[in-house]
């Protein structure tokens, strides 16, 4: 069994790590539009070429499929070549994707742009998350949460300029200009990215963390890895199923078009709930990440997943009230987004950070697995004739994950770390 040298406990953290986090967030912000601004271009593409909207949207599906499933491969390259080269390549591909789109005159062209964009964004996303894990072992949850939050919130900065350029000029010009800008920003920031040297970071004093670096092979041979994969899949599946049914639920409860009046503006309940989705998803990652740095990952998972499960059941019972629908939707989304920060941080705590690119890359496949299970929710609804069954299934998955977090994962991790000789933190969690 390969045993790599354990990293010594650092006496102080380098101030450089906050710069590293800043560059990582900048890369995420620049990459975000590939996903979030796409919706602005679709009507223009449809108007220009007269294609069916569903056919155009296939490009987006291709993008996210590629971005999700190539993560293990990207993780391999991150561990092998370091963050700078991978993000440099990612930035090149991210910029190239929109340049391809600016010249595309066929659906195949847009599909090619989607593949290139998926590779680029995948490289940037995976690397920045990995870098945050390595630089902030004492604040992993918060660092990853901020990085992932940057991806979600980043499009807010450029969505209006893009929309204005589309409206005033041509969508091709918007693709080309912003493709160049975003690619250049990422490639420039990539030049400054690096991993921490030995002794440059400090371990947490509140969370159990491995002082030994596991290889991917070793991680896969640990039962705790598969428990984490199961939990990750359950929670992401649950959240995706809930979102997929939200429109149907709102329709059946009679709140879909109900005007929610906030005095300074009014909006129909369903689009308002979906808007809250984006906000709450962004807040939840750094928030629960920060909480997990203080009370431990497993207890935070228990709180978040329980909140999710109970919130979903409550949504079914009380959602006929428009305000309850909006508030409970917000709670459901708030309790869901943090999965990406909690599981990445837990993986690094458990297996060390040297090979975390590959390890978390394989663990991240839970997102892809979850998406494959989502159509099953539709089948359940068709078979039972009601979305309530789907909601209970979702709640069951979340509550199962909450149970596993404290009753299975926590004891396994305590034994895991004890076997490695990791000392319990002073405030033992």
């Amino acid at each position: 069994m390969e045993i790599t040298a354990a990293a010594p406990i650092a006496e102080r953290a380098s101030a450089n790590r906050w710069l590293q986090l800043g560059f990582g967030v900048a890369c995420m912000v620049a990459a975000a539009n590939i996903q979030y601004a796409w919706t602005l271009f679709v009507p223009e593409i449809q108007k220009t070429f007269g294609w069916d909207r569903a056919a155009i949207q296939v490009a987006f599906t291709i993008f996210v499929i590629v971005q999700t499933w190539l993560t293990p491969i990207e993780g391999y390259f991150i561990d092998k070549y370091g963050p700078s080269r991978v993000v440099l390549f990612g930035g090149l591909m991210t910029g190239l994707a929109w340049i391809i789109n600016s010249y595309a005159v066929s659906l195949t062209g847009f599909y090619l742009g989607a593949v290139v964009g998926g590779i680029g964004v995948g490289c940037v996303y995976a690397t920045c998350i990995n870098n945050a894990l390595k630089w902030f072992p004492d604040k992993r949850g918060l660092a990853v949460g901020l990085t992932a939050g940057g991806y979600g919130a980043g499009s807010a900065l450029t969505i209006l300029p893009i929309a204005n350029m589309i409206a005033s000029g041509s969508y091709q010009q918007a693709f080309f200009t912003f493709g160049l800008i975003q690619g250049a920003v990422i490639m420039f920031a990539a030049l400054f990215l690096r991993g921490p040297a030995k002794g440059e970071v400090t371990f947490s004093t509140k969370v159990l963390q491995s002082r030994r670096d596991y290889t991917l092979r070793e991680a896969l041979s640990q039962r705790v890895f598969w428990v984490m994969l199961l939990m990750f899949t359950c929670t992401v599946t649950g959240g995706l199923m809930a979102v997929a049914q939200l429109g149907v639920i709102a329709q059946d409860l009679g709140v879909k078009n109900f005007q929610v009046n906030l005095y300074f503006f009014a909006m129909a309940a369903l689009p308002f709930a979906l808007m809250l989705d984006r906000i709450m998803n962004g807040i939840s990652r750094p928030l629960f990440g920060w909480v997990s740095d203080r009370i431990g990952r497993e207890y935070t998972m228990f709180i978040a997943f329980s909140l999710e499960g109970i919130g979903i059941v409550a949504l079914g019972y009380f959602g006929s009230n428009p305000w309850a629908f909006v508030i409970l939707s917000g709670i459901v989304f708030l309790a869901w987004g943090e999965v990406y920060s909690l599981f990445s941080a837990t993986a690094a705590d458990t297996f060390g950070s040297k090979h975390i690119g590959k390890i978390y890359g394989v663990l991240y496949c839970a997102k892809g697995l979850a998406a494959l299970f989502v159509p099953v929710g539709n089948l359940i609804m068709q078979a039972t004739g009601t979305w309530a069954t789907v909601l209970y299934t979702v709640a069951g998955l979340d509550l199962l994950a909450a149970f596993l977090a404290v009753m299975v994962l926590r004891p396994m991790l305590v034994r895991h770390h004890a076997a490695n000789g990791s000392t319990m933190p002073a405030a033992s969690h």
């Binding site: 987006f60 293990p72 989502v374 159509p375 929710g377």
Partner: protein, 64 residues
């Protein structure tokens, strides 16, 4: 879809056998296999003949 998915899923036990063996380069195999299997299953699910699948599947991949 069922036949194609079944064929793809049948590869899992064999992949696990290889991962449990003492062969070298298991890390690279694991990474490549996970990516390939995921892409293939996603493709199968997306082009599935069931009318709900492409729409629901695509919706599952909406921004999160």
């Amino acid at each position: 879809m069922n036949i194609a998915a079944a064929l793809a899923l049948q590869s899992i036990p064999f992949a696990l056998l290889f991962l449990m063996s003492g062969a070298s380069n298991r890390d690279i195999f694991c990474i490549g296999y996970a990516a390939a299997l995921g892409l293939i299953l996603s493709l199968i699910a997306f082009v599935d003949g069931h009318p709900a699948f492409p729409h629901v599947f695509a919706a599952a991949y909406t921004p999160r």
